[in-house]
Symmetry: C2
Subunit: 254 residues, 2 copies
């Protein structure tokens, strides 16, 4: 029943976690139930939702080596309508442990198939900055991919690699994987580079690029140190408003 989004881009620091957290918060605020699953061993999405590093008894690691998403793996968060499966650095050993398994890339999809996630409307998968086995598992388990694109030169260079990987994933096991959209992040209208990246992206990707653009906004980067999304930290900030607009674009497609 839930729609499963992977938030992925192998380029580092482009706003994957920030988009996962704040899109989840905006969708939850609109009254829909969201499960966030942290597939990054760094555990930033977990921290950003208020999960303490020493209170993560069960994590995404347990999901990947298990058979289904057991209810005890899921933590409540302080935010209404958002639940979390956190991660710790243990998750980086999933890479090695899954390495020898047959169908190692389809593990997460298989586990979702055995799980009852019907209470959720959306599942958001925060991916690490790599096209490793964790990200590939997310791409195979997901219905659609949301690509945060930082408004910088190196980020644009990485986009073609990512789109090639999407084609490979479709051949590998998820022919129905769609691109929900590309969202420009850390956009600064005074910066020529931002305008150039936006122009290039819209020219090459057209409708795939969300109309909503996420501006560079200091309140967004302050929010994680208070262990909450920017929608809770500073509800009227430009960052919060932008993520609400992004959520509306996605919810309108229901």
């Amino acid at each position: 029943k839930p729609k499963i989004f992977a938030i992925a881009n192998q380029k580092g620091g482009v706003g994957k976690t920030t988009t996962t957290l704040n899109l989840a918060a905006a969708i939850a605020e609109a009254g829909f139930k969201v499960l966030v699953m942290d597939l990054d061993p760094q555990g930033n999405a977990s921290t950003g939702l208020g999960s303490h590093a020493d209170a993560r008894e069960f994590t995404t690691y347990d999901v990947l080596i298990g058979t289904n998403v057991e209810p005890r793996f899921i933590q409540k968060t302080d935010i209404e309508n958002i639940d979390l499966v956190p991660s710790t650095t243990d998750l980086s050993s999933a890479d090695i442990e899954l390495a020898s398994a047959k169908n190692r890339s389809e593990k997460l999809r298989k586990v979702f198939g055995n799980s009852d996630l019907s209470k959720y409307d959306y599942v958001l998968l925060d991916c690490p900055p790599s096209l490793n086995v964790l990200t590939v598992n997310a791409l195979i388990a997901a219905h659609a991919l949301i690509i945060p694109l930082q408004s910088e030169f190196f980020a644009l260079e990485g986009l073609s690699q990512l789109l090639m990987s999407v084609r490979e994933v479709r051949d590998l096991g998820n022919p129905d994987l769609r691109i929900e959209g590309v969202v420009l992040t850390m956009y600064d209208a005074r910066n020529r580079l931002s305008l150039q990246v936006e122009e290039d992206a819209r020219e090459n990707l057209g409708e795939l690029v969300f109309k909503t653009v996420i501006p560079r906004n200091v309140r967004i980067s302050e929010a994680p140190s208070f262990a909450m999304p920017v929608l809770s930290y500073d509800s009227r900030s430009k960052g919060a408003e932008a993520y609400r607009a992004l959520a509306q674009e996605i919810l309108a497609r229901r």
Copy 2:
């Protein structure tokens, strides 16, 4: 003879490539010979030094699966005193190919041991945003580690993971690995978060933190689209000056 630095941090987008490129440029400007080796399949350091994606016949992949750094693997760049071993996405299969090899983590050190790199004073290894086999190879082959630390909350959270990995690498095979230093990047003195991260870093890490701080500077992020370090793109910019100061701190230790 050359001093080998790994520039690493598993957190994405913290300025690893930017520091590799511009520190190399500043050291080269001071008259020392530098070899940059791109260990990131994204190939950003290669692009940043003007290497065209379709002109990378030999790459770091050839180094890792070979026995020594053959002269044909090394490209000249447009910058005096800087040579490059570029990378392409082929490098991400090194992960899988090395997976079954014995001593897979020591491959790069072994290759360096069989190579004549005596014409260089410094070798800089740009690492991907992960603690995978590529980064571990760099940490085992290096004399010292330079850690770019973005002045943001999530970046600080990742630092303790990285320092733990350094301890593991020392046990694993490189007991002499030193931390050359932690360099604060994208620092904005008007932003409370930057001041807080600096305070935390200097309090916990003391002398390990370089005196030089790299400011957020738009000229730094524009330079890669002109395929050159900021020292060439805008020599008098705050970004260029900061990387010169960082180089001076490191060169003074010779």
